[in-house]
Symmetry: C2
Subunit: 176 residues, 2 copies
């Protein structure tokens, strides 16, 4: 890596080069991050959202194991490093203006990607046509696939911003 702002990636070129070219020139945001959408490579289920800095994206591409940036811990985060639920990357896509990536993965271990033990972070459904203000969520997964207390320790939950949710990097929470 060098000190160039996008290193090891090249800087984005013109609008057309960015969107229609064949060069990977990610557009990291003000925090140096792109968004990653993570889906199951076999059935396409959306598992989680997370964020990647340049190092996490480069390591994911080069190793085929999903690396993210933990915003709360301010460190590189290999998903599954605690739980064993590593994500093996079968395919990577980049979006039109290169500020988001899509990972198609196969998950080791329990096969779960959410810190709450569910397969997907998106385990609750919002009813359509309901009044938004009073919508009641329905659980859409039958049960968690592992016991978070057993994997992360019984004090790992309920402490707000002291950890990242393993299931996403969209806020300040995560295990793993």
């Amino acid at each position: 890596m060098t000190d160039a702002p996008n290193a090891p990636f090249a800087q984005p070129g013109s609008h057309d080069e960015l969107e229609l070219g064949d060069r990977l020139t990610p557009r990291f945001d003000a925090h140096g991050l792109v968004t990653a959408v993570v889906v199951d490579a076999d059935d396409g289920a959306v598992l989680m959202l997370a964020h990647m800095n340049a190092e996490a994206l480069a390591k994911t591409i080069e190793t085929g194991v999903a690396h993210y940036w933990s915003r709360s811990r301010a460190k590189l985060w290999i998903k599954g490093e605690t739980s064993g639920n590593l994500q093996r990357v079968a395919e990577i896509r980049v979006d039109c203006d290169q500020d988001a990536v899509l990972l198609k993965v196969r998950v080791d271990g329990h096969g779960a990607s959410c810190h709450r033990g569910y397969r997907s972070c998106f385990y609750r459904a919002v009813p359509i046509g309901a009044r938004a203000a009073t919508a009641t969520l329905a659980f859409a997964e039958p049960a968690p696939m592992f016991d978070p207390d057993a994997v992360y320790g019984s004090n790992a939950h309920g402490h707000g911003h002291s950890h990242d949710a393993a299931g996403h990097g969209t806020d300040g929470h995560s295990h793993d």
Copy 2:
């Protein structure tokens, strides 16, 4: 709507209520937004990422038609209002800590969700195992499904931040 910060939604409660409860209490970020992942309801293909403010999320829930917040235009954005590619929402999920939603949609019109005319914004693949710095992207969709110049006008591209990409709300670009 009231002046309450999360209106029309209730404020998030405790960590456990947020993650394991049955109440929709979205956690909007400092810009008042949550991230939306949009997939095809029939085959699960990831189509785009976008952002929603409280009004966009409420209207999406109540009408079953996808509404987003256009960051560049700073206005409510009904996806497909220009191109006709409206997104009919078959299912909505919320993630563990309620700062992201998943929409499963069926797309009207051309059936495309990217402002470049592709079905998905994620139309390019990144090779795994390559050196990240020199990765060559491979086009993963055979061709665009509509001609953006014909739909949006021939001057609509290449003007950087003057418009939003229809395909995502992850930067400052969008049509539609």
